[in-house]
């Protein structure tokens, strides 16, 4: 994995500056600024309605921003597309019916200014066995692979993928990401939006978290996890049941819990306590020092999925 480097001298592949897009009252994208650099593999995460698809539409020039500017390779998005520098798989991208997979891929190659041989594109997308199949007879996952083939018909420098593995089974997803990694290793910049956070964790070297059209977090998966409260500490506390000594004791215990250092979140359910901590060692040390007697204590790392949920729910709470 490459580390994030953002030398100012290089032209960014993607540059969004204070981009805003409204749909009536809804602020789909709300003052978004963003630079992507060559060779990065970037995941765009966000709950439904966070503005992921609109952001990708703006980035590709399918929609114009109300405010701000969008540049790809220092030019208008359309210019970059005409120059054959961008390939994209959209959720909303349909396919032509009544033609075979091979015919459609050949068309994409013909339209591209720097095309790859169609046979190579088919193989790259895992479509060898489906070349003569009619496009309208394909399953959802197979259609996704055709979309990917269309996006990789030529030598693009930027690959944009919106929910690319929708409809694929687990093994197809694994094979798909292996292909994307190959694309990234050959120097392409890859930007993808996904619902499957383990995919972002495994593939991306930079993660963007979008929330209500704004950038909530931007960093490596590890940094995002750390920001969200990197570790989860769980244990049982007899004091909380209220059995020995009643309600007052439980209240005191809970007060002590909330006073622990480095807490990023606390959840109490019966006798079970779940804490999120940005420094688990210090929190646990303080926990034992507080006079409480936890049992079955467990410290675990937070997955990106939980980190993402923690970040977005915290933001929801802040705004509410």
């Amino acid at each position: 994995m490459t580390t994030i480097s953002q030398p100012a001298a290089r032209t960014p592949v993607v540059r969004l500056e204070a981009v805003a897009k409204h749909f009536g009252e809804v602020r789909a994208v709300d003052g978004l600024s963003l630079d992507l650099y060559p060779g990065q593999t970037v995941a765009l995460l966000g709950p439904n309605g966070a503005g992921k698809s609109t952001t990708l539409d703006l980035l590709l020039g399918l929609r114009g921003p109300d405010r701000g500017s969008v540049r790809l390779f220092g030019a208008e998005p359309r210019e970059a597309i005409v120059a054959g520098r961008v390939g994209a798989v959209l959720q909303s991208g349909g396919l032509m019916g009544e033609v075979t997979v091979a015919e459609l891929v050949r068309l994409a190659c013909q339209l591209h200014p720097k095309p790859h041989p169609p046979a190579e594109v088919l193989a790259g997308a895992g479509l060898d066995g489906l070349a003569d199949r009619r496009v309208d007879k394909l399953s959802g996952g197979q259609r996704q692979r055709v979309r990917f083939a269309l996006a990789t018909a030529g030598a693009n420098d930027l690959l944009v993928l919106d929910e690319p593995t929708t409809g694929m089974d687990v093994s197809a997803r694994g094979a798909f990401w292996a292909t994307v990694r190959q694309q990234a290793e050959s120097g392409r910049t890859v930007l993808f939006a996904t619902h499957y956070l383990e995919e972002a964790d495994a593939v991306a070297d930079r993660v963007l978290v979008l929330h209500r059209g704004r950038l909530l977090a931007d960093g490596t998966a590890a940094e995002i996890k750390a920001r969200a409260g990197a570790r989860r500490i769980s244990f049982d506390l007899a004091e909380l049941t209220g059995a020995e000594g009643g309600r007052e004791r439980a209240a005191v215990a809970e007060q002590r819990l909330r006073a622990l250092p480095f807490l990023a979140g606390i959840e109490v359910q019966g006798p079970t306590v779940r804490l999120r901590s940005t420094d688990a060692d210090a929190t646990v040390y303080a926990l034992y020092g507080s006079g409480l007697r936890p049992r079955n204590l467990e410290v675990r790392g937070l997955g990106l999925e939980q980190a993402f949920l923690a970040l977005t729910t915290a933001e929801e709470a802040r705004q509410a």
């Binding site: 597309i81 961008v86 991208g93 349909g94």
Partner: protein, 252 residues
């Protein structure tokens, strides 16, 4: 011209698709020839078409060839475009270097490729079953005129395709299609209509379209009014299609 060049591959594929679509081929190629046989099949030689100096057979030949071409370009364009806008194929194409007009050009070009057999099959049936005979230059000029004139309705098809949604395109295009066919006198001579409808029909582009063909069969120069109506409607439909196309591009 540049966009037409870029659209070459797309045009080829659009033609392949159209030729694979049996239902579409039936309605645009075989159906008009069948209607010709039904209407003119029993007519004796020398029966004049109402309000025309032409015999019924050559008169209906021109009508049905026009009708076939109209079917191919109007229904072909409108339905495909509306459906493909809805499916997102149009969006997908906007991510390729193909210029936006390239898609519209490819659609219209492939529709006119299908309209050619529609015209020729009616000619063949008329010549074989009803002994319709024309000079060689007339056959050529007639084919060229009907083919070129169909561009007018191809543009109308594009406009409807960008106006209607995938759900509404069929009723809308059918309404326009039947309206143009009936009012333009493609099914029966307008001379059989009440006077006030005839006066409207004179300005309907399909009437001018078939009128162009009839002048050629009679060996005349085209009527100035027919030419004017066709050119004006071509300009109108193209402008309308352009406006609707740009509106759609801004929307998504």
């Amino acid at each position: 011209m540049n966009s037409l060049l870029a659209a070459r591959g797309l045009i080829r594929l659009e033609v392949v698709r159209a030729l694979r679509n049996r239902k579409f081929l039936f309605f645009s190629v075989l159906y008009p020839a069948g209607l010709f046989l039904l209407i003119a099949g029993g007519a004796d030689a020398g029966t004049k078409a109402a309000g025309s100096r032409l015999d019924l057979a050559p008169f209906m030949m021109v009508s049905m060839a026009s009708f076939g071409a109209l079917t191919a370009v109007l229904l072909g364009n409108s339905e495909r475009i509306a459906k493909e806008r809805e499916s997102g194929w149009v969006r997908q194409l906007r991510l390729t270097p193909l210029p936006g007009r390239g898609y519209v050009l490819a659609k219209s070009a492939s529709a006119t490729v299908v309209s050619l057999p529609a015209v020729l099959v009616v000619f063949l049936v008329a010549a074989v079953t009803k002994d319709v005979r024309l000079a060689a230059w007339q056959w050529l000029a007639l084919t060229a005129a009907l083919w070129a004139g169909s561009l007018c309705f191809a543009a109308l098809g594009v406009a409807i395709g960008y106006l209607a949604t995938g759900d509404t395109v069929r009723p809308v295009s059918m309404l326009v299609y039947f309206g143009l066919s009936a009012l333009g006198g493609l099914w029966m001579p307008t001379a059989t209509f009440p006077g006030w409808i005839q006066r409207i029909a004179d300005w309907v582009p399909t009437h001018a379209y078939a009128g162009l063909g009839r002048s050629l069969v009679l060996g005349h120069a085209p009527e100035p009014r027919d030419l004017a109506v066709l050119i004006a409607s071509f300009a109108l439909f193209t402008a309308g299609a352009g406006v609707l196309y740009r509106k759609d591009t801004l929307k998504a």
